[in-house]
Symmetry: C2
Subunit: 249 residues, 2 copies
Amino acid sequence: MSEPENKIGTYRFVAEPFHVDFNGRLTMGVLGNHLLNCAGFHATDRGFGIATLNEDNYTWVLSRLAVELDEMPYQYEEFSIQTWVENVYRLFTDRNFAIINKDGKKIGYARSIWAMINLSTRKPADLLTLHGGGIVDYVCKEPCPIEKPSRIKVDADVPPAGTLEARYSDIDINGHVNSIRYIEHILDLFPIEMYQTKRIRRFEMAYVAESYYGDKLAFAMQQAGPDEYHVEVKKNDDEVVCRSKVIFV
Amino acid sequence: MSEPENKIGTYRFVAEPFHVDFNGRLTMGVLGNHLLNCAGFHATDRGFGIATLNEDNYTWVLSRLAVELDEMPYQYEEFSIQTWVENVYRLFTDRNFAIINKDGKKIGYARSIWAMINLSTRKPADLLTLHGGGIVDYVCKEPCPIEKPSRIKVDADVPPAGTLEARYSDIDINGHVNSIRYIEHILDLFPIEMYQTKRIRRFEMAYVAESYYGDKLAFAMQQAGPDEYHVEVKKNDDEVVCRSKVIFV
């Protein structure tokens, strides 16, 4: 139970042609998808996956995601993702990731923060007592040398850089705009010249509320440094849905 | 060389959470992505994949795709895709697919038509002579009991049902809007009520020309029967980029 091999899950991927951008590099949306899948595989294999939780009327909710990379896998390249649980608190757990290239070199890391909620009440559950606190057995001291998710701030008077209405392809099995679609829509705010001359060094998402089919999403973007942009997504001119930070290099 | 096992390629998948729609069923865009990947795997394993062709300055170009299904895999379900070459002509080849569910039952089929072009001249290549005509050795008589891609017609005076500008996430490594993105954009033309009460029985794409970053894409849609819709995508108010037929049931 306590050997690190069992605490860290490793999953292999290949950068598929329709998953890379015009530079031939894996897109951040697809990487995010793989990260969240790995979180699911890892949790399921250890008895605290969504399917098991749903039986007890609970589910995982992603609160924060931060990804920092030296490079993205290139088209057709194999890569792997490792994931482990760093901390378990009463209401949140920290899950970290390493992204490893075809040569076995760590090319990036990611941090995520999750809560568990009761599906009926939508209230947070106590992670330390659920399932006999079994998740705590998997806490692992593997290093993750990137900063924790940080504060993201967009001034109230910033006008939207883009707007859209949530469509069929945006919606997941829970009826919500899916977490990955926000990433794609946010990265589409930048002109292609940005991606021709720079790459994303760090990307952060803070998921605040759900949005639904037909919601009008407005994307306010504010530059916070030479290569740093903060984005706030609001639905229906009112409620904040998520915030994002994009740092180019 | 002539045994059917070597002529038919079989590839396994699982319906990932971010690859299913609000009904929990794999999206047509993701299925299309898997089909095209299988085409690539199958061709590469037999010596006529894109990487080999590129060395000789040639590449495959997808001309038509038609998919017909009894059902789509459900979230977390395993499924597999078989693919084989049905015909090779001088300028085109027909590649077919079967989609097989977790219980081994064939739940759908697909047909695709491909050309090969010279990357410098963009002119079509002779498939019967290229690489010593080796592709012909893989022609296979496996049944594919769905209709061939058919004529798609939208009247010239039909106004656009939707428009958009091609963004960063739409563009592939060749600098073109990628084949899968058109599928997603086309399916987003329909209101969610359509997918709440019906499912897609047959889906067709005819790829006519390439579009690029910044192109304004207009989607004209015309109903051609009780459950049949034809869509024509034009770029910059002028050139036809692709056409699609969607039949619900």
